[in-house]
Symmetry: C2
Subunit: 267 residues, 2 copies
């Protein structure tokens, strides 16, 4: 690993950085490095502001969406990154989880490429794996699930054809941004022959102090949002997990509070 | 994030830690913290020894498998962790990628739970997302793939029924430990109606100086290992990626060398 970043005094540079699921201790060393050297940080609404504060001297702006309403539209985000980089600034575009998992990171990279702006992608810890993991749910486990699929809960036309073809055992389904879709997904899988007793979980605000985990069955999930959303509230992003691995949380769920002991990064 | 680790002088503790894909800069802050405070580090053969060296004063042992041959069997790994923890040691079980993605992390957690040993899981950056990402391939991208599935290339009886039901567009397939299975997976998908021109890539040793990326089509993949394995060698772990998103690497593949500029963690 001998390459060096270009000299920020001469040429601007954009880092598309994965922030992980929320806990500052789950930032990568590369993410911390880029934040500390940043001149400008543009962070998503789902990224806790405490993470953006780790950027020592940078200007910080919250962009992205909250509850479907964009604070700043995508074209503006692209324009802000490009303008700052052309002025020679070091820009961090801080995105929840991994930049390339359901976060429009690819579109932003294409915009930077088209504008001739140098950039890099810094992978992050995705909530699709960390949210269940911190709740004691391994997305794979020998004899229960040898694979997992990650979908977005936003669009039934996108997740529908994928879920419809999955065998009703042997893998784990993870749906991100799925609080609103949990009932529809539950009903869809039951209609395709999945057992009503298949374990299911919904984790909100994984890796933070506010995290909570609802566990039940596919039947309960399909019985309507009352079982899930009322118990958890809808303020935080929700990760839906369906499959036999969820049952392991009854044994491994000692971290069910869903956050790590502190390594002191954010304190 | 107010919890604290138990006092290592009184009670042992095991951290099942995700090491990420290989670059020390892709370790999380929590992983670095646990390594630096460890008394004993047990690391997989796929974890670069340089990462284990970040543990300042710990004893370090390479366990796990290389090319299918276990160096130390799973029962011995479990016994080593449990014995050290009972002696009051702070143990780090360092696993490639994320501990719960195809790495027997769940089995180790169950063994620790059964032995009454306190433990935690520290999620990591999985190669399933980072390997394609660093090669300029977003696993999801609006209009191309709204979902991705992760399978192991080890067992056709496990990945077969899952791949067979997937629609031939709209999602990305990622297969880990897949160099040996690339031909069989390619042929299987063609037989299910996937287009021969579907873009495919195989990335080896992602995020390290040795990383390389082969790109071609599903037809080429199915034409036999010569196209892939001869070009890349079989020493390093391989990540197979299939789907329209692979075409984006032609534009975004500026990081095709597959590693990040250094943040200085490993140097």
């Amino acid at each position: 690993v001998t390459a060096r970043l270009p000299d920020a005094r001469r040429t601007g540079f954009v880092s598309l950085v994965g922030a992980g699921p929320g806990d500052p201790d789950l930032l990568t060393a590369a993410a911390l490095d880029r934040l500390r050297r940043a001149d400008l940080v543009l962070y998503d609404a789902l990224v806790p502001p405490a993470l953006a504060l780790l950027a020592g001297h940078a200007q910080r702006f919250c962009v992205g969406k909250r509850a479907g309403r964009p604070l700043v539209n995508q074209e503006t985000v692209n324009a802000l990154m490009i303008r700052a980089a052309r002025r020679g600034q070091r820009v961090v575009r801080l995105k929840a989880g991994d930049p390339f998992v359901l976060g429009r990171g690819g579109e932003e990279a294409l915009a930077l490429q088209a504008a001739g702006v140098a950039f890099e992608v810094v992978p992050g810890v995705t909530a699709a794996i960390a949210a269940p993991g911190l709740a004691g749910i391994p997305v794979t486990h020998r004899g229960l699930a040898s694979a997992f699929v990650v979908v977005s809960g936003h669009d039934p036309e996108a997740y529908g054809p994928i879920l419809d073809g999955l065998p009703p055992n042997g893998l784990t389904i993870v749906a991100l941004m799925a609080l609103g879709a949990s009932r529809a997904i539950g009903q869809r899988l039951l209609a395709k022959g999945w057992k009503g007793l298949t374990p299911a979980a919904v984790i909100t605000a994984a890796s933070t102090d506010r995290s909570s985990c609802w566990r039940g069955t596919l039947s309960e999930l399909a019985a309507g949002p009352a079982a899930v959303a009322d118990a958890l509230g809808q303020v935080d992003p929700g990760t839906l997990v369906i499959g036999e691995v969820v049952a392991l949380a009854a044994v491994l769920g000692g971290q069910a509070a869903g956050h790590l002991p502190s390594a002191g990064v954010g304190s």
